[in-house]
């Protein structure tokens, strides 16, 4: 699913609420039927800024979540011997074979973002929370990342929650799109996207996609009732 809306409408806050990094002042958040009380442990997160650790190689960056889980005695951390294999396989699916031992500063923005995605997925979380993950990339790289994300979705079991201000991105990647309006933050519309997968750019720009984007744009535009 995807949440779209203007800057400042609370998209990122919503993600942090879902992850349990913030506490709701009113109402309740439930994930998988359980109310969220503190930071959830079965989520992976990736942001616009890939925030890799510059003193670690690509491989060690991807392995960071496993180190933490292991130290905390989490059952989901595989045996040490399997770590490397798992990370190498995951890096291969995003096309980073051969880059395992490189340093983050040597990589392009798109490559860094792929490493960041791998770090978010290495512990096989049930929820993948993405906060405008491709917003800082150039248009071509971003479209490649859409394909990549769809491949990952097809291969792995996780629920993706995407926050974006790019309507095309939402149409390309999400099954359900929630349109958020600001002042006060609320859901202005819910749209199912029925396009078959994997989606291509021509589908996104096709009649159905274009019509959907048009409707969402109307809902995002500050209406007269909010201007009052």
């Amino acid at each position: 699913m995807a949440f779209v809306g203007r800057s400042g409408c609370g998209k990122s806050t919503l993600l942090k609420l879902i992850a349990g990094l913030l506490t709701a002042t009113a109402g309740a958040i439930t994930v998988d039927g359980q109310p969220v009380g503190g930071p959830l442990k079965n989520v992976g997160m990736a942001f616009q800024n890939p925030v890799l650790l510059p003193w670690r190689s690509v491989l060690d960056n991807v392995l960071l979540p496993l180190e933490i889980l292991r130290e905390n005695g989490d059952a989901r951390a595989p045996g040490l011997g399997l770590w490397r294999d798992r990370a190498v396989t995951l890096l291969a699916t995003v096309g980073l074979t051969g880059a395992e031992l490189r340093q983050p500063r040597e990589l392009s923005g798109g490559m860094r973002q792929r490493v960041s995605l791998c770090r978010a997925l290495i512990h096989e979380p049930a929820l993948l929370l993405l906060d405008e993950p491709f917003a800082a990339l150039d248009a071509f790289t971003r479209e490649e990342m859409w394909d990549l994300y769809q491949r990952l979705r097809a291969q792995r079991e996780f629920t993706g929650v995407l926050v974006t201000h790019d309507l095309r991105e939402a149409v390309c990647l999400a099954d359900t799109i929630y349109v958020l309006a600001s002042g006060p933050g609320r859901i202005a519309g819910v749209h199912g996207v029925a396009l078959p997968r994997p989606r291509t750019l021509s589908q996104v720009y096709g009649a159905e996609g274009t019509e959907l984007m048009g409707r969402m744009r109307e809902q995002i535009r500050p209406g007269r009732e909010t201007a009052a």
């Binding site: 942090k16 992850a19 349990g20 990094l21 930071p39 959830l40 442990k41 989520v43 992976g44 997160m45 990736a46 942001f47 800024n49 925030v51 650790l53 510059p54 003193w55 960071l64 979540p65 180190e67 933490i68 889980l69 130290e71 905390n72 989490d74 340093q103 500063r105 770090r119 978010a120 512990h123 929370l129 906060d131």
Partner: protein
Amino acid sequence: MGSRSRRVVLPLAVFVALVLGWEALVALLRVHPVLLPPPSGVALTMARTAGPIAFHAWHTLVTTLIGFGAAVGLGLLLGFAIGGSATVNDALYPLLVGFNSIPKAAVVPLLVMWFGIGMVPAVLTAFLLAFFPVAVNVAVGLATIETELRDVLRSLGASRWQIFRKVGVPRTMPLFFASLKVAISSAFVGSVISETVASNAGIGYLMAVAASDFNTRLAFGGLAVLAAMGVLLYGIFAVIERRMTAWAYAE
């Protein structure tokens, strides 16, 4: 000439030219040697008093290093506390800045009153001058961890202690090692100031005695030793910095 050798040869050439120019000017203008001795005379005095100079230099070095060591230890602790906790930061940082703006030379008489003439006030002055840069740099390194990174780790169930160890400490290291260069120079300044005012040993003491005897040659000799020691200490810590945190520089 390669850019590397350029960076070594060029400043050396300027230095040699300056010394030669000094020598020539003193001879040409017949400056009285008590006012300004020629470099050759300074070198001669240094060679003749090599033994005592070495003794005093060693004393200054030990004093500086003890003060520096204490400053690094306390600076690290204080930096971690300030960078790790907003409460500690709000409570201590303004005081720290206020304290640091006191000229430390003004504290030396008090230290002498409490601890007498000798090594202790010199060590303390070195310490007082050196701990501030360490504490501030470490605190900045910790306090500027990206929110996103914190979120990534917290969503894995990482504790504050784990975030501190896995991210805080390594990302602070370049700033910490950079601060050591500043701290060692400051410690050196501190110990020499204190030695000049109240000590029975050390280069600062040697220079104070030389000046009161109008022994300008020896005073310049002391100055040359101080300069050499300062450059050497700074250089050592600059090399350590590059070695320890290559990831922050390599491009």
